[in-house]
């Protein structure tokens, strides 16, 4: 079992979700986040107050998958979120130790999908 964390541009979310659905990956958690990579921020100005603008809005997706779905998930995210500009995002793949379905108490691979 693996846990995939992907940070993508906010405007790419719908594309990525569509691609994931196309590969039968339906369960996902989405969070709005602020982040900093190598992309330069946008300096904000409020009267005499100038924000350095180092953090940018991003969207985080978290997906738990069985081994067979790791590559399809990564492919889907890449297709949906890819751009040629710096700032498209990153995908992290973590080992998932356990997964439990709260309603039934099932564990392991069965509980993931």
């Amino acid at each position: 079992m693996k846990y995939i964390i992907a940070i993508i541009q906010p405007d790419r979310l719908n594309d990525v979700l569509e691609k994931l659905t196309g590969k039968d990956i339906l369960l996902v958690t989405v969070t709005p986040v602020m982040g900093r990579g190598r992309q330069h921020g946008i300096a904000e100005v409020y009267r005499s107050h100038r924000e350095a603008g180092t953090l940018l809005k991003k969207t985080k997706l978290e997906i738990a998958v069985n081994e067979a779905f790791v590559k399809p998930a990564i492919d889907a995210i890449m297709e949906g979120a890819h751009t040629d500009e710096v700032g498209a995002g990153k995908i992290f793949v973590l080992d998932l130790h356990e997964c439990v379905r709260i309603r039934t108490g099932e564990t392991g691979s069965v509980a993931i999908g």
Binding site: E44, V45, Y46, R47, S48, H49, E51
Partner: protein
């Protein structure tokens, strides 16, 4: 603020001595003078204006200011505004009105014969407004007395303890606002007697609040992490809502100060609006020149600055003059907020001095430039109409008010600080005043 109507005995003559003014209705009692009859149009309009000016405090200023602070302090600003409305209203009917508008003592203060609104009845007080009930005049004035201390909140936002703030507010209303209101608007007040023009409160409200704001920034000191580590406004849409309500309410503030539903009120309404529009555009233009983008915070700050600046002259200047006054407000207030404040390094959190102080001073001087008897025969001519003397009078009035308000506020702040302590401790400032002072959170994060 008060009716510059040319009714016998009440028109202010430029440079007239004290005695001429008193002749019009010395006792201040509410028995109607001959020919003094309630006019329902005037009364209706001033009643609405009373509500409009109240709207400027809450929710106008309350949301304008609270949108500009960080999330963790949003409620503290709202609370300070609400508390002022309640506290100063009570203070006003108990002693404030009498001190401000009551029978004069030495040109400096009213006496206490109208304490608890004793003698302030429903028939007119002709020395102030001959066609509306005396209590209505009192109520209208009350809203000015309320909003003035609320303006100071902008200077000490995000770091002042609530109870000492309440104590300071009551003392300040009584010892700073009431005297200045008397000098400029009370029968017998020495600034009024000297011919100073202040239609709706450029000096009484804005210069006084602005000066107090400056004093507060010095006594309370900078916020932790100022300027680099202070977050941006947490809710600009609130600030815009608040600014819109301020603009709307200002029609009552300025046009209502004609104290009648007449041509003068209309003239003040028009100049008020145009000044705001010109100032909003000017500030947005300054934004574009210096920061390359026009901003919403800029345009609303400009509009408010324009409204502040036209306040002393609304009923004395022409529409084109109002445009120029608004333009000047946009320029001077922009520079004092973006350049002067940064240069001098004081933490006027929400630019109370930069907008109300500087705007009020500019407005007072601008009135000395552009006042014209063609706009209001009961007023005076300014420099551009062949009378440079009015400028001197305006400058003196502005200076006297500025110096007194600054000094008195500074002393009061130091006193309350010594007795009670003004500033929250470091931990409270970090977690935010909403939690620290009120045990409340403005927004739930979880359901």
């Amino acid at each position: 603020m008060y009716a510059r109507k040319s009714i016998a005995g009440r028109s202010v003559v430029y440079g007239s001595a004290l005695g001429c003014l008193i002749a019009g209705g010395a006792s201040g009692q509410s028995a109607p003078a001959a020919g003094s009859v309630i006019d329902s149009g005037d009364t209706a309009w001033v009643m609405i204006s009373t509500a409009l000016v109240m709207l400027m405090s809450v929710p106008g200023l309350a949301f304008f200011y609270s949108g500009l602070v960080r999330r963790k302090n949003v409620l503290s600003v709202l609370m300070q505004c609400l508390a002022i409305v309640c506290l100063v209203s009570i203070q006003w009917v108990l002693v404030g009105y009498s001190l401000s508008f009551g029978p004069d003592k030495a040109g400096l203060i009213g006496d206490l014969s109208w304490t608890g609104l004793n003698g302030v009845g429903l028939s007119p007080a002709p020395e102030y407004a001959s066609t509306i009930p005396h209590q209505l005049f009192m109520a209208f004035q009350m809203m000015f007395a309320v909003i003035t201390p609320a303006l100071i909140i902008g200077a000490f936002a995000e770091r002042m303890r609530f109870l000492p703030f309440c104590v300071f507010t009551l003392l300040w209303a009584t010892l700073v606002y009431d005297p200045v209101a008397h000098w400029m608007w009370g029968v017998g007040g020495f600034l009024r007697a000297g011919g100073a023009l202040d239609f709706a409160g450029g000096t009484v409200v804005h210069i006084v609040a602005g000066a107090a704001a400056l004093a507060a920034t010095l006594v309370l000191g900078k916020r932790q992490g100022y300027p680099e580590r202070i977050g941006p406004p947490h809710n600009l849409p609130f600030a815009v809502l608040g600014a819109g309500l301020l603009w709307f309410g200002w029609f009552g503030f300025n046009a209502g100060s004609a104290l009648a539903a007449n041509g003068l009120a209309v003239s003040a309404l028009v100049t008020t609006h145009i000044s705001a529009a010109a100032a909003g555009l000017t500030w947005a233009t300054m934004d574009m020149i210096f920061s390359r983008r026009p901003t919403i915070l800029g345009i609303i700050s400009g509009a408010v600055a324009g409204l502040v600046s036209i306040t002393p002259g609304a009923g004395y200047v022409s529409v084109l003059a109002a445009m120029a006054i608004g333009g000047g407000a946009g320029i001077f207030c922009y520079l004092s907020v973006v350049w002067l404040k940064v240069k001098l390094g004081y933490d006027d959190a929400l630019d109370a001095f930069g907008i109300h102080g500087i705007g009020g001073i500019w407005g007072a001087l601008a009135t000395g430039l552009w006042a014209s008897k063609a706009s209001n025969p009961a007023g005076a001519d300014g420099l551009f109409y062949g009378n440079p003397g009015q400028c001197i009078i305006q400058m003196k009035a502005a200076l006297v008010t500025l110096v007194f308000a600054f000094a008195a506020s500074y002393i009061l702040l130091k006193l309350v600080d010594f007795l009670l302590g003004l500033r929250v401790d470091e931990h409270a400032e970090r977690i935010g005043l909403d939690l620290a002072e009120h045990r409340e959170a403005g927004y739930t994060m979880l359901e």
